[in-house]
């Protein structure tokens, strides 16, 4: 079983110590430090987040998205055809993102995340996966005066270029996040069309992650899309357990079994018994065990505890279920 994370990681320590990104950002905003100094602290915070995952025993890490303001802004502000507007609530969470606004034809003008990927890959002793916010989700969370389908498909063509650039950079696993797909069952055909467009001609290993709900109405044919790994959130979407029937042999499951939105710690028994349930449909050597979504909803110390528990539970499950 592979241990991994879904994406973001808390940017600052719970109790002080470590690189002080929060202070550096506010000093930069006040004009008291230069961009280079901020960049140095951001890089240090990124290395710190990667090292914490590596030390916890996570097999495939991310850069923690330390440089991301939010999953929408990070991509939209570098794509042609967008500007980024005011704050909106992010799904049903108590966090916010800046809403992208479509103001013209959408296009890819150059790599957005490749330099960050390369930095992380150089800083990590474990493989690093890159994460790209999916075209359907980016369209759903943006404001546009054009039909959703048009915007989503244009985004798919633009973000395909980003995926090809990550592939070119040698990224071993590229993850596409589509939480909004779970909120719009009536648009399932558009979701699938968009994802086919996004992945056309891509040869790198791809993962599709969903969270904040279950894939009812999308599965099982969701699993036929050209991704090798499908990430499901079993915490917010317990119905996902029943949707594994017909999970294609040969594909891999990202099992979100630890609640990334609550500090309550799962017991070993809970995780192992959930993995036992999953193993009836997907062999454990094709399971990526991960939290239910990005860990940035938690304070850093709690996120770290979740990583330690995740690795511990993976080892226990391998022993108990092999």
């Amino acid at each position: 079983m592979i241990t991994t994370v879904v994406g973001n990681y808390p940017k600052v320590p719970s109790l002080g110590g470590g690189p002080n990104l929060r202070r550096a950002l506010s000093q930069f905003d006040e004009g008291r430090i230069a961009a280079e100094e901020l960049g140095r602290v951001v890089a240090e915070a990124t290395r710190d987040a990667i090292q914490e995952q590596v030390d916890a025993g996570i097999d495939i890490v991310t850069d923690g998205h330390i440089r991301w303001e939010d999953g929408q802004t990070y991509f939209a502000r570098h794509l042609a055809g967008f500007h980024v507007n005011g704050l909106l609530r992010y799904f049903d969470s108590n966090t916010y993102f800046r809403q992208p606004v479509v103001e013209g034809p959408i296009g890819w003008t150059g790599p957005i995340s490749v330099r960050d990927y390369e930095y992380a890959a150089g800083a990590s002793s474990r493989p690093v996966k890159a994460v790209v916010t999916g075209p359907y989700t980016l369209a759903a969370l943006s404001h546009a005066d054009r039909p959703r389908a048009e915007v989503a498909l244009e985004l798919a063509r633009a973000l395909r270029q980003e995926i090809l650039a990550l592939q070119q950079a040698g990224c071993p696993l590229i993850q596409v996040d589509e939480p909004a797909a779970l909120r719009a069952r009536d648009e399932a055909p558009l979701v699938k069309q968009t994802l086919r467009e996004l992945t056309s001609g891509v040869t790198a290993k791809l993962a599709l992650y969903t969270y904040f709900g279950d894939v009812k109405g999308l599965a099982p044919d969701l699993f036929d899309l050209p991704f090798q790994v499908f990430g499901l959130d079993f915490v917010s979407g317990p119905a996902n357990f029943d949707l594994l029937e017909g999970f294609p042999a040969g594909k891999e499951l990202g099992a979100g079994l630890l609640d990334a939105r609550n500090t309550k710690m799962e017991s070993m028994e809970e995780i192992v018994s959930a993995l036992r349930r999953i193993s009836r449909f997907v062999p454990l050597d094709r399971v990526h065990l991960n939290p239910s979504c990005g860990l940035e909803f938690l304070p850093r110390a709690n996120a770290h505890q979740k990583l330690l528990r995740l690795v511990e539970a993976a080892r226990a499950a391998e022993q108990a279920l092999s």
Binding site: P10, E69, N94, T95, Y96, N262, F297, L298, P299, N302
Partner: protein, 323 residues
């Protein structure tokens, strides 16, 4: 004719000396008693400012509160407070964590209510954060379900509301800004609010914001309160279209000041909002106030905005012959 009373939504900006003292207190650089003196001073200043503006129903301005959920959780049994969590940009806050049975250790808002009410003959509102919002903004390590925590919080907040009423509060506001987060849980929010307001004779209000209004209206009209307070200015009074399709059956708290912009509204803008609303509701069912708490503005911006609100209300009342 009566009506178009003016009021506040809850928070008012903290003057710079208080913001500085709060930072110092967080670093333990000044004593809690010294901070308290400054909180009382700022409260005095705001009560006086509201009286000078001519506001009818006052707020204490929440000069002693930071995060509206954490303020209560810190004083209750069963909670600890988390490490830092990012809300957006470079903004971080600490969340309550329910780690055991939650309950009231004693009054949480009574001392400040009594202090503020003692400064003025005008009514001061009792201000509580609602049980659903407390639930939604907390981590839960103890209760098996969200509902169980929510209803327990409701019982604790009911005790607080009863204490406020006994102390003389004629208006009690129980804020539920999280109401629209998960429309599928609105029944829980309504049930919990019923526990908080059970048996109260005070005029009860709930403030709701950040909403996907389509998802919660008209369902929110079942909230067991006398008045629902809504942010109207920041959507250019679009919510009124919903009222045309389905009548608004409560007393309305009509937000006429966008609290998220530095720009001060014009008197004409506010008058337009009042006139549009008066097409649908009689003046005695409208309380005029800002969209939300004003704590994110500076003291000067807040006063400038409230001055416009008061002037526009005075002019519209004069047109209607309301004294």
């Amino acid at each position: 004719m009566k009506g178009l009373l003016t009021t506040g939504v809850g928070s008012l900006p903290k003057p710079p000396y208080l913001a500085q003292a709060r930072n110092q207190a967080a670093r333990k650089a000044i004593e809690p008693a010294a901070l308290r003196q400054l909180e009382l001073q700022a409260t005095r200043e705001w009560i006086q400012a509201q009286e000078e503006l001519g506001i009818d129903v006052l707020v204490d301005g929440e000069q002693d509160r930071g995060d509206m959920a954490t303020f209560f959780a810190e004083q209750m049994a069963g909670f600890t407070i988390s490490g830092l969590v990012r809300s957006y940009g470079n903004r971080y806050y600490r969340k309550p964590i329910a780690v055991g049975p939650v309950g009231r250790r004693g009054p949480m808002t009574l001392e400040m209510y009594r202090y503020a009410q003692g400064l003025t003959p005008k009514p001061v509102k009792g201000m509580l954060t609602g049980p659903y919002t407390m639930l939604d903004w907390s981590f839960n390590e103890h209760y098996p379900t969200r509902a169980a925590l929510c209803l327990e919080l409701a019982r604790a907040l009911h005790e607080e509301a009863v204490d406020l009423e006994r102390a003389g509060a004629r208006y009690i506001q129980i804020d539920e800004p999280a109401l629209s987060t998960r429309p599928e849980e609105m029944d829980l929010a309504i049930q919990a609010m019923g526990i908080v307001t059970a048996g109260l004779t005070a005029h009860t209000i709930t403030h709701v914001c950040y909403g996907d209004f389509d998802a919660v209206y008209p369902g929110m009209l079942a909230m067991p309160v006398d008045q629902i307070d809504l942010e109207m200015a920041n959507s250019n009074y679009d919510l009124l279209e919903h009222f045309r399709r389905h009548a608004f059956t409560k007393v309305l708290g009509l937000g006429v000041l966008d609290v998220h912009t530095h720009l001060v509204e014009s008197v004409e803008q506010v008058k337009r909002g009042l006139r549009l609303t008066l097409e649908l509701l009689p003046p005695e069912r409208i309380y005029v106030d800002p969209d939300c708490g004003l704590k994110t503005r500076t003291v000067e911006e807040a006063k400038a905005k409230l001055t416009v609100m008061m002037e526009a209300t005075r002019q519209v009342k004069a047109e209607l012959g309301i004294t």
